[in-house]
């Protein structure tokens, strides 16, 4: 497949506006400005594009909701708070293709009649901040941003808002709170951000990769785009693959590429020729899969059929030397640290689960600990404002379900099955 998102990524000047324009960049924007805003939204709907941040919500539908709200000003926020462990797919876009994102944002803003935009960038990406700010400056100089873009009377102002190390700010309502200068604690929905978002105004929050797909959709048309990969959730997709594989990295492949193909063909198979033990397919919050499930196509429709989710498309591969209890413990330690504290089940439950996992891992597990973990997890799932609590519960429940024997062994023998 021809690279769309990672096109020209090996060009050392790929982040510069000259290189971007030379490879056809900003032509989608010029084409979009010849279209009515409504027609752009229709084109995005026709493309079948679904949000790449994890939830997979249809982008065109989200835009439609926001554009129907009569309140102004409207805001367009780019979610570049890529914090899901295992996920690093947006990083090459931010560091090497900033103008693709900016062009996508300008087209989106024009379609939504949003005059102000922010890129909410995680604090852990200081280099991306430098690159994005330089790219935004270039775009202003070329007349792609400002009060009268390309003399067409379109206004859009864009800046970078740097986060400060809070995973929860990747959740869209927490992200909005954070942009408003508050603690990043999620809001209850409804009302949804498309109606009551940043500063109470209609707001669209889209992921970096989602927005980076927009210029291509305008360029080739929604119909042609909808033929790429799985027609139920089409398009090119960035997969980040890490841990025990020969060639970890970011791969751009059609949506629906089988997990097995990504691991064994693109990422070169299991490191050192060892045995595959487990795969987390969509970032740490998504349920773990055993090797018998890896024929599954990687998309929003098929992964739920084998008990997991596409999430951010972050594949973490574990071989037979890795202790599943330890991975589970470290994942829950993360959720405990990142729980914002607003909902009691998540705030307290993640700490309890971490503590139980810690004693099992350390050789102090007790009989009944597995049931206790399941009980705590079930007391979190579905009882919190945002999906962080569900993610933590998912991890514990899926690890126990898939690796019960390993947990049992740890408790009975006070050591790991891998030792």
């Amino acid at each position: 497949m021809e690279k769309v998102l990672l096109k020209n990524i090996d060009n050392p000047d790929s982040a510069r506006i000259e290189a971007y324009e030379k490879s056809g960049g900003y032509s989608g924007l010029k084409k979009a400005f010849e279209m009515e805003p409504k027609a752009i939204i229709e084109e995005v709907k026709r493309s079948g594009l679904r949000g790449r941040g994890g939830a997979g919500f249809p982008t065109g539908m989200k835009w439609d909701f926001a554009s129907r709200d009569p309140k102004f000003p409207k805001y367009l926020l780019c979610n570049a708070d890529e914090g899901e462990p295992g996920t690093f797919k947006d990083r090459p876009l931010l560091e090497k293709r900033p103008h693709l994102l900016i062009e996508g944002m300008i087209i989106s803003a024009y379609a939504l009649k949003a005059e102000y935009g922010y890129i909410y960038l995680r604090g852990e990406y200081p280099h991306a901040k430098v690159v994005l700010e330089e790219a935004i400056k270039e775009a202003y100089e070329r007349g792609y941003l400002g009060d009268n873009i390309l003399g067409k009377g379109v206004k859009f102002h864009l800046s970078v808002h740097q986060g400060a190390g809070a995973y929860i700010c990747g959740e869209e309502t927490a992200l909005i709170e954070s942009i408003e200068g508050k603690r990043g604690q999620p809001r209850i929905k409804p009302p949804f951000p498309v109606n009551v978002g940043a500063w109470g105004m209609p707001t669209v929050v889209n992921n970096v990769e989602t927005l980076s797909n927009i210029p291509y959709i305008i360029e080739i048309g929604g119909e042609a785009y909808s033929q790429i990969g799985n027609p139920e959730c089409p398009g090119p997709k960035l997969f980040s693959i890490s841990c025990c594989v020969e060639k970890p990295g970011v791969y751009e492949l059609p949506m629906g590429t089988p997990l097995k193909e990504i691991i064994y063909e693109h990422a070169g198979g299991i490191k050192g020729g060892r045995q595959l033990k487990a795969v987390i397919p969509g970032g740490i919050s998504t349920p773990v899969l055993t090797p018998d499930k890896i024929d599954c196509p990687m998309d929003f429709v098929n992964l739920p059929k084998v008990g997991s989710m596409l999430g951010s498309g972050a594949i973490m591969v574990f071989d037979d030397t890795v202790c599943m209890v330890k991975v589970c413990w470290r994942a829950i330690k993360f959720f405990e640290h990142e729980s914002c504290g607003k909902c009691t089940p998540c705030r307290e439950g993640t700490g309890w689960m971490r503590s139980i996992l810690e004693r099992i891992e350390g050789g102090f597990g007790r009989e009944g600990d597995i049931e206790l973990l399941q009980d705590v997890a079930m007391s979190i799932a579905g009882k919190t404002f945002c999906p962080l609590g569900d993610g933590a519960a998912n991890v514990v429940l899926s690890f126990i379900r898939s690796f019960t024997e390993e947990f049992d062994y740890h408790i009975k023998n006070k050591k790991c099955i891998t030792q």
């Binding site: 000003p73 890529e82 914090g83 899901e84 462990p85 295992g86 996920t87 690093f88 990083r91 102000y116 995680r122 604090g123 852990e124 990406y125 200081p126 280099h127 102002h157 800046s159 808002h161 740097q162 986060g163 400060a164 190390g165 809070a166 995973y167 954070s178 942009i179 408003e180 200068g181 508050k182 603690r183 990043g184 604690q185 500063w199 980040s240 693959i241 890490s242 841990c243 025990c244 970890p248 990295g249 970011v250 740490i284 972050a314 973490m316 574990f318 890795v322 330890k326 991975v327 470290r330 994942a331 993360f334 640290h337 990142e338 914002c340």
Partner: protein
């Protein structure tokens, strides 16, 4: 004063004063070295917010410097991918070689260490930031070589 000028520039990008709070805290941290009570009050005054609001927001976020730190800040990831690829050995190494504990600072004030929750470099794990420089594919030998270049 440079501090106020920078905050004024930030304010241009937001529809109200509180919007400028997160970026202003970064400016204050640069000015004061860390987020002291004095810095909260300066930001509060510049943004016309109660100091308690400023502190309440600042302490929610892990990446601000909530206490005085060494000349160089090591932010080492130990999340799942980095852990699987050996980050725990690096934490032990920093303890043994520099007497540096997670959350602590070396006696000579050269390094502070903060343990991170995924810095988005899982393909090059283990990874760390030293100040704003990114270093990846770390091992025991490489991390010491890198750190020795920060004086």
């Amino acid at each position: 004063m440079e501090f106020l000028k920078e905050i004024e520039e930030i304010l241009n990008r937001y529809p109200d004063r509180q919007g400028a709070l997160l970026p202003s805290l970064y400016v204050a941290q640069k000015e004061y070295g860390w987020l002291s009570q004095e810095s909260y009050e300066a930001v509060a005054q510049a943004l016309n917010l109660p100091p308690a609001t400023v502190k309440g927001v600042a302490t929610f976020y892990a990446m601000y410097k909530h206490k005085p730190m060494g000349r160089h800040l090591i932010q080492l990831c130990t999340n799942v991918a980095c852990m699987v690829m050996g980050a725990e050995r690096l934490v032990d190494l920093l303890k043994n070689k520099y007497g540096l504990e997670p959350g602590g600072t070396t006696e000579d004030g050269r390094f502070s260490l903060v343990i991170m929750e995924c810095i988005g470099a899982c393909d090059k794990a283990p990874a760390m930031l030293v100040d704003t420089d990114f270093h990846a594919d770390l091992n025991e030998k490489r991390i010491i070589e890198i750190l020795e270049s920060y004086k």
